[in-house]
Symmetry: D2
Subunit: 116 residues, 4 copies
Amino acid sequence: MTTTIPSLTQDLRDFAAARDWAPFHSPKNLAAALSVEAAELLEHFQWLTEEQSRHLPQAKKDEVGAEAADVLLYLLQLCDKLDIDLLESARRKMLVNAEKYPVATARGSSQKHTAD
Amino acid sequence: MTTTIPSLTQDLRDFAAARDWAPFHSPKNLAAALSVEAAELLEHFQWLTEEQSRHLPQAKKDEVGAEAADVLLYLLQLCDKLDIDLLESARRKMLVNAEKYPVATARGSSQKHTAD
Amino acid sequence: MTTTIPSLTQDLRDFAAARDWAPFHSPKNLAAALSVEAAELLEHFQWLTEEQSRHLPQAKKDEVGAEAADVLLYLLQLCDKLDIDLLESARRKMLVNAEKYPVATARGSSQKHTAD
Amino acid sequence: MTTTIPSLTQDLRDFAAARDWAPFHSPKNLAAALSVEAAELLEHFQWLTEEQSRHLPQAKKDEVGAEAADVLLYLLQLCDKLDIDLLESARRKMLVNAEKYPVATARGSSQKHTAD
């Protein structure tokens, strides 16, 4: 069976319900946990050069993949609690970004990112 | 057309390519940007009580949804650069978590989370 | 001998020099490391209630103290590399905050913090 | 008058008391705010190369200095609430680090940092 955002969301709901974790999973706490996981992911890169980060050995990629999974799992739980449709929000955000960073002016410039 | 993780990933690839952003988008930089966006999401919750965070007004939910989208968009770009299959990693991580936090012992305890 | 910000800064300089760490200690990398340490500190609190966070057992306080130290040590190294006078910046920031959050309007409101 | 860690701590105490901010300033919330400020600092560096980060223009240094101040101010408030002596913790942490990263083995290696 294919893993999708809706199937993961349902699995996470069942997982937390079976463990009575609802009291811990306030949106505030999930946002903090998400931020902590994102930092754990960053930790893998903090002393690497950009070039090294483009050529990770497979073992390191697997570790990064596990941290990326943690980020996604908390993000999905947060969105689920807040009735946010994450994929639809992402689609809308891409339209906003297309207006904010027109190809003509954003080309090759990191200035685009300043108001993210 | 339905928005999916693969379709978003392709859209992000096209978006960055049209703007020549590859030089900025090293995995190291994307990991930093991801972490910054996760913190911007957390900022919405930092002075709220947990209870308040469970009852956000719709306008605030929309803002949080836009930040959640930013987190996802950087996460997808990072995984794309590193050839990480995010959904598959998430599926595997849930199996790991099921072993790590058995229902019998993890029930109602936040101790489960200590070794995340 | 009393530990002060200037004495710690000098000790950190000597420590890094003895280990040839200058190549790793770009301001960019130090800023990432600082952010990672701040998240490790936050991790101690993520599943606690606010009330629990006000009454930490001593062992937990010691752990938090060690993380707080890590945050300070990276902050000092970052400021040293950029010739930023941290204490003077902090003094100036407090003057800015005093204007931004006048007692009359900021009293008892978390709104003060929105534009931090 | 010289600005010191103890004088800043006292000023922060007075500042928060005058505004009745004690209810917001639980250690949990202060830890979240600290982490958010550290990410705002990191944001200034996320698209820069390491080399660029070593040669910031003065205007950018001033902005970074203001963010560094925010980090320090929350760190001091957090430590104050928890009765943590930050400078003493930092001094102790440096002794721990001296044992953990002996000059002979840590020289020129970023491996030192892995267990931070």
